[in-house]
Amino acid sequence: MNEIKSSSANVEERRYISLTVNDQQYQLEAGTGAGKVDPSDTLSFTLRDTLGLTGTKVSCDGGACGGCTVHMDGQAVLSCMLLTIECDGKAFTTIEGLKNPRTGKLDPLQQSFIDHTAFQCGFCTPGMIMSAKALLNENPSATEEEVKEALSGNFCRCISHYQVVRAVMAVSGKGR
């Protein structure tokens, strides 16, 4: 997916976007076509369609629902509202990158979501987890009110919120 097609075109004219996603480095050529980054490509499109990381879900595609939340340099961002060409040099974590890469063990927050059945259909869950994780990274002992506030941009129509707040609170304050 991340291989760069070599061609005989003038090398000087090529531009590359460097991204680090889940500790893996990608160099993507700017341009139109498979594997490249078009100037109109959103980060969520690049993650899902170019890099195949479909764990990041897109629902409204307009910055309203929080489904596509990922971390950029540790901060929660909406990947549907960022253009990939503006993300050169940035480091991202997606839902696929939360597991411990060496042991394969789930992040305690992911495990807590399973233990509390903090989802129904599960479509909003990756975004919920990434929003909550960003909060806990910054504030490991977040209060219930802080958790609710941090998740207030995450749309869920099943109303998993109550179980989500419980799952996050079970991890909050426990540290890592």
């Binding site: 078009d38 990756p126 207030s152 869920c156 109303i159 998993s160 109550y162």
Partner: protein, 761 residues
């Protein structure tokens, strides 16, 4: 209540089977699937609410590199569905957003560009958006063969199309109070599952089509598409994780047919995935309801007569509105045991997006108007609404006409105890101060309470089949046509088979949702999962166990297979447990297959009562939901976390919040939906969660061996009318319209002159 029976899995918190995939992003929703040579389909939509297509020129669009097919009403296959059936593409467009042309291209961007290059000349026709206006002589006519824009009732004359029984005149004569009124629940809220409707189709000429769907009823989709394509075409439906439905995706024939038509035209797989704006503006809404009726009530709360007309606005066509009317009538009878009825429904078409299936399915719509009307009578007689709703709810020995117009004698439990327990947890008796009286007033803040109730006999609707195959390695495979849509149904099927066969859950798998390999399954709807779906699975597991015992009996010198027991893959003689044999030894090079089937049964009904407490700010008009207490009796809890999730779902998916702020706003001059996006369509965030308390009793119900009954579908239904009641009590004035927006509150208080009706500005 403590149960005599202890189970290994039933009623225990067991992690969902799909949990690890969900929390790691590995769940494959439709847009996560990869296909070779996939094309992307887009729909060109009408900017006019009502128009004839005079010409379509696709030449410019066809010249775009990467465009593979363009389909218009002139080239589309003659595919129709709905009640009565409409064409997939038509020469006439009937709402802003109606499909005009379909494009398949190599990328979404190319498909988008091509749709913009299609030149359409319209002859714009007058349009009608108001349900009453649509019935008037001279109103614009949507269909040549539906004069007055009236739709035929019932799927056939054998369906329940009204409630006519007893003698209403006699009933009114017996009444101590008679009220006449009109309440509407016509703000057409949208359930908006997070995953938008989508489908991928691959048509292999001449007559094989495979459709990957984003909905949860794969056999329902097969049935509908088979009827559309005709007998010659073999339809295979594959379902995966479904990102929410709340009923709405149950019927998704249009998006599926767009993909199928484009695949038929190109020979390649085609995906059509609605944007969120398309989802809101061109996929289904709740039907609009208005009830004009007269109610007779006695001093003791007995409802003596109900007579009136029930108008259901279905938008530009009906998917299942007739069935929603039939079920809604039955659900009204379950909640209100009245001997004399004359309720006449009407279904009307207007130039707006279509109404479809949403949790509550006709019953919530009718109840949102019927309970407020009953309340007017209760107010006259100074009766406590809790007492009246409890008294009138169906009890053993009572009955109702169900959707098939057949009378069913109710053989379920008395829900009075669950209602009492809910009232006690809520503190109803302490808080109730009488009609149109707030429970407390502090400055501009007034607190009000309300109660609503709902029940549904679709818990036993339609058919389910399942198989349970015990493989010779001792593992078990369940064949079931389910696609998980959030209720945990798939995990509960695994749980139930593990309980019947006394196996570790890890030894049990379930087929993917694929009609090629699964038996027929109506799918989750109407809370039928717990009774109907599980009954078929239990029967299949029992059947497999019986066949296994028949093979084992001679090996253990048992005189009858019934003398055997099994757990953890060992079978033993009950009278001599030392005589035992492992499943693997019994099966050797053999599998056994058990089959199960559930036949419809409408003699049981579930029940939900919801109590709400809210605060109205008389200065701003804002309504804040403070507390909700839901109560039911589930017979036996199967999955505590899943049940809690269903209960909490009472707020979203066009539930309680459809009474507070959820609504679809149509521009009455252009027919445009003004809030067809997730910023302008209001939804509840985690920062504004009310307290929810859920009360669940477990009185064994005569369903299947686990005595359980589902309630998931109906949790949205009792709340909206409870909110209207609570807000009316808080401000001391009757409110007649949903939702109770600040404008409506201020208007009722005489602080605003702005007029606003239903879903129309």
């Amino acid at each position: 209540m403590t149960m005599a029976v202890t189970y290994r899995y039933i009623g225990k918190v067991i992690p969902r089977r799909d949990g690890p995939d969900i929390v790691t992003g590995q769940s494959a929703f439709l847009n996560d699937l990869k296909f070779r040579d996939l094309l992307y389909g887009k729909v060109l939509r009408s900017p006019h609410p009502h128009a004839l297509i005079k010409s379509i020129d696709t030449w410019k669009a066809e010249q775009v590199k990467g465009v593979k097919a363009i389909i218009t009403y002139e080239t589309v296959p003659d595919w129709k569905s709905g009640n009565p059936p409409i064409h997939l593409l038509d020469k006439k467009v009937r709402y802003v957003g109606d499909a005009v042309a379909l494009v398949a291209a190599e990328t979404e961007a190319i498909a988008d560009q091509a749709t913009r290059l299609i030149e359409v000349e319209y002859e714009v026709l007058p349009a009608v958006f108001d349900d009453y206006e649509a019935m008037k002589p001279g109103a614009p006519q949507l269909y040549d063969d539906l004069p007055g824009n009236l739709l035929p009732l019932g799927l056939s004359p054998t369906w329940a199309n009204e409630i006519v029984m007893g003698d209403v005149e006699k009933g009114f004569a017996e009444a101590d109070a008679i009220v006449d009124g009109s309440f509407g629940y016509d703000n057409i809220p949208n359930p908006i599952p997070m995953e938008s409707p989508a489908a991928v189709a691959l048509w292999k000429e001449p007559d094989m089509v495979t459709v990957w769907v984003s909905n949860h009823k794969i056999w329902g989709a097969k049935r509908i598409l088979s009827a559309i394509f005709g007998d010659k075409v073999q339809v295979r439906i594959i379902g995966g994780a479904c990102g929410g439905s709340y009923g709405s995706k149950s019927v998704s024939w249009q998006v599926q047919c767009y993909a199928a038509a484009l695949s038929k035209a190109t020979g390649q797989p085609v995906k059509v995935s609605f944007s969120k704006e398309e989802h809101l503006a061109s996929f289904v809404l709740r039907p609009a309801t208005r009830l004009d009726a007269k109610i007779g009530m006695k001093k003791d709360g007995t409802v003596t007569a109900i007579a009136g007309s029930w108008l259901m606005g279905t938008g530009y066509y009906s998917i299942t509105t007739q069935i929603q009317v039939s079920v809604g009538c039955g659900e009204a009878m379950i909640a209100v045991q009245c001997k004399n009825w004359n309720l006449k429904p009407t279904i009307i078409c207007t130039n707006r997006n279509a109404s479809g299936i949403v949790r509550g399915f006709g019953g919530q719509e009718l109840k949102c108007a019927l309970i407020p009307l009953l309340s007017l009578a209760m107010e006259k007689l100074s009766l406590d609404p809790f007492d009246v709703l409890k008294k009138n709810f169906v009890k053993p020995g009572d009955g109702y006409f169900w959707r098939d117009a057949i009378w069913y004698n109710y053989r379920g439990i008395d829900y009075s105890r669950a209602m009492d327990e809910g009232a006690s947890v809520f503190g109803w008796k302490q808080k109730w101060k009488g009609w149109l009286k707030p429970t407390s007033v502090k400055g501009t803040k007034r607190i009000g309470i309300g109660v609503g109730v709902h029940g549904n006999a679709d818990v036993g609707e339609d058919m389910s089949e399942a198989y349970v195959r015990i493989d010779n390695d001792g593992r078990v495979v369940i064949g079931s046509g389910l696609a998980e849509h959030g209720t945990g149904q798939v995990s509960n099927v695994l749980k139930v088979v593990a309980e019947v066969l006394q196996l570790p859950l890890e030894a049990i798998s379930i087929t993917p949702g694929d009609t090629l390999v699964t038996p027929i399954e109506w799918g989750p709807a109407g809370s039928r999962g717990t009774y109907a779906i599980l009954s078929a699975v239990i029967s299949a597991a029992d059947d497999a166990k019986k066949k296994l015992f028949e093979l084992a009996a001679p090996m253990l010198d048992a005189s009858s297979p019934e003398d055997l027991e099994t757990a953890d893959s060992m079978i033993w003689l009950r009278s001599d447990p030392k005589k035992r044999v492992h499943w693997k030894q019994v099966l050797n090079l053999r599998n056994v297959m058990g089959n199960g089937r559930f036949e419809p049964d409408y003699t049981l009904a579930n029940c939900m009562i919801s109590f709400v407490e809210l605060q109205v700010d008389t200065e701003t008009g804002k309504v804040d939901l403070l507390r909700v207490v839901n109560a039911t009796d589930a017979g036996q809890v199967i999955d505590p976390h899943g049940l809690e999730g269903q209960f909490n779902g009472c707020l979203g998916s066009a539930g309680i919040d459809s009474a507070i702020f959820e609504e679809t706003i149509l521009d009455p001059t252009t027919g445009y939906m003004l809030n067809a996006n997730l910023i302008d369509y209001k939804w509840r965030t985690s920062a504004e969660l009310p307290v929810i308390e859920n009360v669940v009793l477990e009185t064994p119900i005569d369903s299947h061996c686990f005595h359980a009954l589902g309630v998931g579908e109906i949790t949205t239904s009792p709340g909206p009318s409870a909110v209207l009641m609570a807000a009316s009590n808080a401000i001391g004035q009757w409110l007649y319209e949903y939702p109770v927006t600040p404008e409506r509150i201020l208007q009722a208080l005489g602080k605003s002159t702005e007029k606003k009706k239903g879903g129309v500005l």
